[in-house]
């Protein structure tokens, strides 16, 4: 059982890094899409006012029974993902309004959307693994092979 917990903790540490990078990337992507929508006269002030709406999750559902204990911090390996994403964005995000900038913005949005899908796929794979390990642990707690006492 200790091995099971160790593997699960390692997967969770990796998942924490991926989920952090994914959420930052989603935020970045949604801001760039909003900037594209304002293509005639993109304006930082207008974007700023729209930030709460852009950053919020659509259709957010919070069910306390499905809540799990979560850390809210910058994960240890956050830098690794930041470097990958930075390599994609080669110039300034808030467009100055000329056509050449706009097509470049569309290119960046296209590439970032792809990176976001890849991150989400890796995250889903990690969830499957973590939830599988947790289901096995859950079964051991139910039949007494695992006990909270050995954690305390």
């Amino acid at each position: 059982t200790d091995d099971l917990r160790r593997i699960r903790s390692e997967c969770e540490a990796a998942e924490e890094g991926i989920s952090y990078a994914r959420r930052l990337l989603q935020g970045r992507l949604d801001i760039l899409r909003a900037a594209l929508d304002q293509s005639e006269h993109p304006d930082a002030g207008q974007l700023l006012a729209a930030l709460p709406a852009i950053m919020a999750d659509q259709g957010h559902v919070s069910d306390p029974a499905q809540a799990r204990s979560l850390r809210v911090r910058v994960p240890a390996d956050a830098e690794r993902y930041a470097a990958v994403i930075d390599a994609v964005i080669t110039e300034d995000e808030v467009p100055e309004g000329t056509d050449s900038d706009l097509s470049d913005l569309e290119r960046v949005v296209g590439v970032l959307t792809q990176v976001e899908h890849e991150l989400s796929a890796r995250r889903r794979a990690l969830f499957a693994r973590i939830d599988g390990l947790r289901a096995e642990l859950l079964a051991r707690y139910k039949d007494g092979r695992a006990d909270v006492r050995d954690l305390l």
């Binding site: 935020g27 950053m55 799990r68």
Partner: protein
């Protein structure tokens, strides 16, 4: 773009220009998405997610204002703490816990402390209900409404005397993510927390252990113990209260 961000900070340090500040806010806004998404977990349904995001953006603006570049700290680390703090402070000021639950929860906590010092152990639910003059159902209903599964509910500061601000939620969650080998170099707070946990009832230890050590949801814990989720929610709330009372001694 790392270089451009450093340049923005340089420009902002020079002139505190509003246009530069706006671009810093737009650049770091995704941090608010991350923090607001996680603080929202476990919150009662009536708390609007978009409000948490708005509070978070104020926290980000405050972090940009106060951050001192060049001192060797990562802005993201500082900003995430300030965004989370701003959301929780703002929730408290708008009374996110309904007043009726707040007054009843204060009575439960006071009765808990009273009985704890009289009995020298955690009271049972029956003893707690009797002290309050409530029925057992009334007590369980209040415990369920006090839902302590969200970070905001547990962001209570623990004064353990070593100076820095430690919250119950940080301490409990520290227990979750650390790998078994890492627990050797526990801080005093963690050691105290572990010693206190072993003084709770067996069922409370199980619920806290499965929630914070094993990262399970209340629904999964209900499955292990063969009881409903709302019952687990009540046991979890009473266990956290009991822990808080003991740690406050």
């Amino acid at each position: 773009t790392e270089r451009e961000v450093a340049q923005l900070w340089g420009e902002y340090a020079d002139g505190r220009d509003v246009a530069v500040r706006e671009r810093l806010i737009i650049h770091y806004a995704p941090l608010v998405k991350y923090v607001a998404g996680r603080v929202a977990v476990g919150m009662p349904a009536h708390v609007e997610h978009s409000d948490l995001v708005s509070y978070g953006i104020f926290g980000l603006m405050d972090a940009i204002e106060k951050f001192e570049p060049g001192r060797g700290f990562k802005f993201e680390t500082y900003a995430v703490a300030r965004i989370r703090g701003a959301i929780i402070d703002e929730l408290r000021s708008v009374d996110w816990v309904p007043r009726s639950v707040r007054t009843r929860s204060r009575k439960v906590e006071a009765a808990m402390q009273e009985l704890e010092s009289a009995l020298k152990r955690s009271p049972t639910e029956e003893e707690l209900a009797e002290e309050l003059g409530w029925s057992l159902e009334e007590l369980q209903d209040t415990l369920a409404r006090m839902s302590m599964t969200s970070i905001a509910a547990l962001d209570e500061v623990l004064d353990v005397g070593d100076g820095d601000r430690i919250t119950l939620v940080d301490t409990l969650q520290d227990l979750t993510v650390s790998l078994p080998e890492e627990t050797l170099d526990d801080s005093e707070t963690k050691r105290l927390l572990r010693a206190t946990l072993t003084r709770l009832t067996e069922r409370e230890q199980t619920v806290l252990g499965l929630y914070y050590f094993e990262g399970m949801t209340l629904a999964q814990i209900g499955d292990v113990l063969g009881v409903t989720e709302s019952r687990i929610c009540q046991i979890h709330t009473k266990a956290v209260l009991s822990l808080r009372t003991k740690l406050g001694e």
